[in-house]
Amino acid sequence: MKELMLIMIAAVLINNVVLSQFMGICAFLGTSKQLKSSVGMGLAVVFVMFFASLVTYPVYKLLERLGAEYLKTVAFILVIALFVQLAEMAIKRFLPPLYKALGVYLPLITTNCAVLGAAITNVDKKYTLAQSLTNSLGTGLGFTLALILFAGVRARIETSDIPETFKGVPATLVAAAIVSLSFMGFGGIV
């Protein structure tokens, strides 16, 4: 249990997926403009990441048995794309309110490198099933945390007076650098 807690804290704060691993930057910059879309995207990523690691675990075990570990990239991306597609249909059919909240973000997640990244990290670190699930959940929560925090920062940038050249993307990136700097403070806790 203690070990799982450590994996969780490391994934959410210390090795934050966006701010120190640089995965899912496109989604991070694209959807952090408003708080509402950040929460939606964050929850969709938590959902997909958790279940994707649940699905990719047995797939990898199977590949290992066949001696074909090198196919993991191809197999994982296919499984993730398939899962996202199925999840979208299932949610639309059975949980309309959830679909309303997450629907538009789901298809975008297939090409979010954080999901594939988390699945490959689980395999590379030889995590057990419980550890994989904890790591994926933590990574997803870390992504959501970064997105929500950054949405607040961006709201402030929107209204402030910044040099013409820095307007838009450059200001956003410099602000991301400062937020990333603040996450470095978590460096020593585990």
């Binding site: 701010l19 120190s20 691993q21 640089f22 995965m23 899912g24 930057i25 496109c26 910059l29 694209g30 403009k33 879309s37 090198y70 196919l71 993991k72 990239t73 191809v74 991306i77 296919l78 794309a81 538009v104 973000y105 298809p107 975008l108 297939t110 090409t111 979010n112 490198c113 594939l116 990244g117 490959i120 990290t121 590379d124 013409e164 050249t165 820095f166 307007k167 838009g168 993307v169 450059p170 200001a171 956003t172 990136l173 410099v174 991301a176 650098a177 400062i178 990333s180 700097l181 470095m184």
Partner: protein, 233 residues
């Protein structure tokens, strides 16, 4: 559409005018993650170029065979195949670079530049034009990564290509090789380019060239509002 343009332009447009990193803002994850050293930037750039050229050629050859409804999954599988190939090659011949690029080598699969070019260009153009387009975009990406890597390596560790640069190496600004430095360097570079190009900076990240544009939550109106880049100059 491409027939009107000379082939040489397909090659050169990716270098500066439509540079995938600095102008269209695609492929940000590897740009920020692996550029702590100039060498890693070049390695990552060339690996991506290889995958981009090969996948563009294959997709352009298969453009009549792949049904429209399943084109994105098909593209991803083709790309993932070439990524696996380059992983093997790099593990065999450049093990040092392989371990320093780590997980980002596998993540070339989901690099938006590659899927973007497949969707926007290779699935609509001839094989030769697609190969040149892939080469140009790949080299533009490599150039961007090399620039980022050089700046971060020189300022952050006082070295260039592993060679110490005299007094600079005495007290380097370590922050530049940390994650925060990546965001900062890229922000400054884009600001400088905006200044030099003397154009109105884009309000937000644009849909043009994004493989997910058709699936995305932005309305058609918002998409149309995006300025067409590289044409207004």
């Amino acid at each position: 559409m491409s027939e009107k343009r000379p082939l040489s332009q397909e090659l050169t447009k990716g270098l500066i005018k439509e540079n995938p990193v600095f102008v269209t803002l695609l492929g940000m994850c590897p740009t920020l993650a692996v550029t702590t050293l100039a060498k890693n930037g070049i390695g990552m750039g060339l690996a991506t170029t290889f995958v981009l050229v090969c996948s563009n050629i294959v997709i352009s050859l298969l453009k009549r065979v792949i049904p429209d409804a399943v084109r994105l999954p098909s593209f991803i599988v083709i790309i993932a195949g070439f990524v696996t190939l380059i992983e093997f090659l790099m593990k065999g011949y450049l093990p040092e670079l392989y371990s320093s690029l780590g997980i980002f080598l596998s993540l070339i699969t989901v690099n938006c530049i590659i899927l973007g070019r497949a969707e926007v260009f290779a699935s609509k153009n001839s094989v030769i034009a697609s190969a040149l387009d892939g080469l140009g975009m790949g080299l533009g990406f490599t150039l961007a990564l090399f620039l980022m890597g050089s700046i971060r390596e020189i300022v952050g560790s006082g070295c260039f290509w592993g060679v110490k640069l005299g007094a600079l190496a005495n007290s380097p600004m370590l922050i530049f090789i940390m994650p925060a430095g990546g965001f900062f360097t890229l922000g400054i570079i884009i600001a400088v380019i905006n200044k030099l190009a003397n154009k109105k900076p884009p309000e937000e990240i644009c849909c043009e060239g994004c493989p997910s544009a058709s699936l995305c939550s932005k309305t058609a109106e918002q998409k149309a509002a995006c300025p067409k880049k590289g044409e207004g100059e």
